[in-house]
């Protein structure tokens, strides 16, 4: 009898605890859902408010190109740009097919016939422009990083070199790279002379302009990162009598990686902004040229198409920063870096 009661009590207790656990689990699930809802709903809500404000304000403003486009018109133009891109691709494919057929027919008639393959020369679509811009900014950024990181490390390690170079850095840092653009253009067209150029001159101009503005934040941040290494870690390396190479690679560089990446992210952000302006100014292919062309075009759709470009520029810029952040998380020991 007693055993039975005990068993019953035991069961009851198990049931009670089990229920508590279920309840607790349910609570955790609920918390998770709430957190998810918060992190998703709030931005969506804010975006909704933004769209409403935009459409209500836009419809009030009359310009010489018609009413400032609201979200709906911009979305329509985004779809149109995508369709234009597809049409262009289709006609390119058709052109290529025709060419292949013609060449095959020629070869069938005469196996020794000389065959010409002409590239398709249709106009660049919106998506071509996006890729051109991304490719250009990454090139310029890469060149800048290859120069700036070693220079920053050297400046951080040697106060004499830093003292020597610092005035130059401080002087060139505030110069808008657009001021360099004419000089870069002239130098490139004078120096880069080739019958069969690997890169177009416009691409080089834009990339070098981006390089000129990406240099400074990386140099300065790397210098600070390298020179502000924790004194205790310096003492550790002194007690261990680490050689110069070991000290630089095992202690100095790893400890400056977070600062270095901070500089790289700033550089890439500035580079992207400058590239668009440079493309507008010099009519080099890319998103900037697209914006300028649409502005000059002056059709009733132009403003909406420019707005599409504005959003594209923003999203690409955000993705580039995210890319750098992922790279930083992958490379650095400090996993706490976030998008801010």
């Amino acid at each position: 009898m007693t055993e039975q009661i005990m068993a019953y009590v035991g069961n009851a207790r198990a049931g009670f605890i089990g229920n508590m656990i279920k309840l607790f689990k349910g609570k955790i699930m609920q918390d998770k859902l709430q957190a998810l809802a918060k992190s998703l709903l709030l931005p969506i809500l804010a975006f909704g408010v933004f769209l409403m404000l935009w459409s209500s304000v836009a419809s009030q403003i009359q310009t010489s190109l018609g009413v400032v486009p609201g979200p709906v018109q911009v979305w329509e133009q985004a779809v149109t740009l995508y369709e234009e891109h597809n049409e262009e691709r289709t006609s390119e494919q058709a052109f290529m097919d025709r060419q292949t057929k013609r060449n095959e027919a020629k070869l069938a008639k005469n196996p020794d016939a000389e065959i010409k393959t002409r590239p398709y020369t249709g106009k660049a679509t919106y998506f071509d422009q996006i890729w051109t811009s991304i490719f250009t900014v990454l090139t310029g950024f890469l060149i800048a990083s290859i120069i700036a990181i070693p220079l920053g490390i050297i400046c951080g390690l040697s106060t004499s070199i830093y003292t020597a170079i610092n005035p130059l850095i401080q002087m060139f840092k505030p110069v808008s790279p657009l001021a360099w653009l004419p000089i870069v253009t002239m130098i490139v067209s004078a120096v880069y002379v080739s019958d069969d150029p690997l890169f177009s001159k416009s691409y080089l101009n834009s990339a070098i302009t981006v390089t000129l503005c990406c240099l400074w934040p990386t140099i300065i941040n790397t210098t600070v990162g390298v020179s502000s290494i924790d004194n205790d870690l310096v003492n550790v390396s002194r007690v261990l009598r680490l050689g110069w190479v070991t000290r630089v690679f095992k202690i100095v560089l790893p400890s400056s990686v977070p600062m270095m990446f901070a500089g790289l992210r700033v550089s890439l952000g500035i580079g992207w902004m400058v590239l668009i302006a440079a493309e507008m100014l010099s009519q080099n292919p890319g998103l900037g040229k697209f914006v300028w062309d649409e502005f000059q075009n002056g059709s009733s759709n132009s403003l909406a198409r420019i707005m599409v470009a504005v959003f594209t520029i923003g999203i690409v810029g955000f993705l580039l920063d995210w890319l750098m952040l992922s790279l930083q998380r992958f490379v650095s020991w400090d996993k706490s870096a976030t998008v801010r």
Partner: protein
Amino acid sequence: MKNEHLLLSKVTIDFPTDNGPYRALDDVNLSIAEGEFVSLIGHSGCGKSTVLNIVAGLHQATSGGVLLDGREVDEPGPERAVVFQNHSLLPWLTAYGNVELAVKQVFARTKSKAEMDEWIRHNLELVHMEHAMDKRPSEISGGMKQRVGIARALAMEPKVLLMDEPFGALDALTRAHMQESLMEIQNELRNTVIMITHDVDEAVLLSDRIVMMTNGPAATIGEILSIDLERPRDRLALADDPQYNHYRAEVLKFLHDRHNKVAA
């Protein structure tokens, strides 16, 4: 005195300031025997850390000097390993990696790869950190970081182990654990140790001698107290020991009354 393993002779140091040189230490003389555990105790800013840094070679005495086994100390080196107050582990290396850096530096010519690996593991086991050797400093607690710091220092097989308030940043319970561990290790390895501390109980419990320093400027050694307590020492048993309490009272009295005495 058994032998003069480590000798501080007339150590004086001036730091340059805007108002002329500041004399931090004045005429510090101390002889430490091999295997001896010496604590430096004194108020903040009295120059305890400066003494330690001079022995480590991180600072140079303005006059006087330090002899280790008859050779003058003029630069830092692994035979005078330092355990820093805030662990100073490299955050991008694991516990194993941190000890490895030291071992590779010291034993690159004398140990094979397998021997080095074994030596790293042995030292981490000594401080009871074998379970976390693949963790990075950010993933382990303050006490564990300090254990790794001690393992790194011990792995250099130093002639003198210098500890700069090694447990100062730890909570009381962790500190007590670390003191037990240190006594255990000391019992086994018989290292010569100089330890800086603020903690009177810690000093009496661990030391063979306690060096009490006067306040700066021109700080120097005020008094040296020999602690003749049987080893191994047991914290709980000693709590009621009249001799232990006498030593404790001596140090406390010095710190409260006599630290203002100007050195002659």
